[in-house]
Amino acid sequence: MPHISFELLFPISIVAGFVGAMAGMGGGVVIIPVLTLLGVDIKHAIAISILSVIATSSGSASAYIRDHITNLKVGMFLEMFTIAGALTGARITLAVSPRPLYIIFGLVLLSSWLALFFGSHALAHTGPQDKFTEWLELEGSYPDRVLGQTVHYKARRAYFGAPLMYMAGIIAGLLGIGAGAVKVLIHDLIMGLPPKVSTTTSNMIIGVTALAGASVYLMAGLIDPGLAAPVILGIAVGAFLGTRLLVRMSNQAVRRFFLFILLILAAEMIVRGIRGGL
């Protein structure tokens, strides 16, 4: 594996964290393609990325939880499934050859991209709560600062959301990303959570899911501390700056520009996977 100096990898990771945050995704989806372009083996790149995912998701989840927007019960219930999925996914990564990983990475990035580009929140609507979801006590309320009032909501179809979250966990563990776009989609469309609750709760779930995946990669000896240090620090700094800027930004064009970068990365990963000779 090539030696990449801290002086190079740190600024690159800041940019990766920044671009990821501006596009509304995590830093993982940017740093993995970049690391592989620098000559890092994709499995090592995945292992390092998943560590940085713990840092960024826990960091941003913290503020949302303290603001009482995150639903701890929804999080705890779904974490059972995402963790099992992440353990499965990480094992698969250890077992398979790199080429399918490139292709799957590209395809997942592409579908997350479509979900983000076209947006899904408008489709969410509340329906009657089923018995199972009611038994799970999956409901809540949060203070909405924009509306200036407390929003009450009831989740539904947890029986359907749970197995899908297992699949989302597989993707996260397999590719070393947060897979936040996939999780938010499940929360929104299947379980009918309000957008704010779904994004913030998914953020909390991402942290433990990444941890489950990271445990497998740690055991496999794929976590290289020398590479991990600049990546964790850089992505944390970049994501922090990106989220700050994103909150103040109303211009959709800028966000679309960053989404466009992700589209190129997705296409490039698929092409490399198909061509082989990595």
Partner: protein, 144 residues
Amino acid sequence: MTGDPKIRAGTRTGASASDLGETEQEFDMDAIVGYILLIGVLISLVLVVAALIWRWIDTGTLAFGYKLTGANLFQLVVDEVRLVMHGMLRPRLLLSMGIAMLMLTPFIRVLVSMVYFMAALKNWKYSLFTAIVLLTLTYSLFLR
């Protein structure tokens, strides 16, 4: 069943109580969970930065050329504690501690949530769910 205000405390509590015009002042679990995550990540980042600075002062380079081979988190932490006890605090030890701290952060969050569901809310359902999460993580992090 959801009529009990305590049961709903996990999702709706404390600081917002005044905005909501509620009088009950509950134990603010959200704040504790939130701060655990924040402090854990900050400690971990500080350890990584300290390791890098020390490394740079020592050798003039920021490169670390070691591997964490086939260790589970438990072995990693035990080895680190042993080295610190022997006064062997070195840059690479600080870096490993930073990585271990990062991985312990979500784990501690789940542990504290379980204690909360068990002791404060006495919600057996969610105590069980959290216990399943905790056992799975404990197995994959410390026992394998």
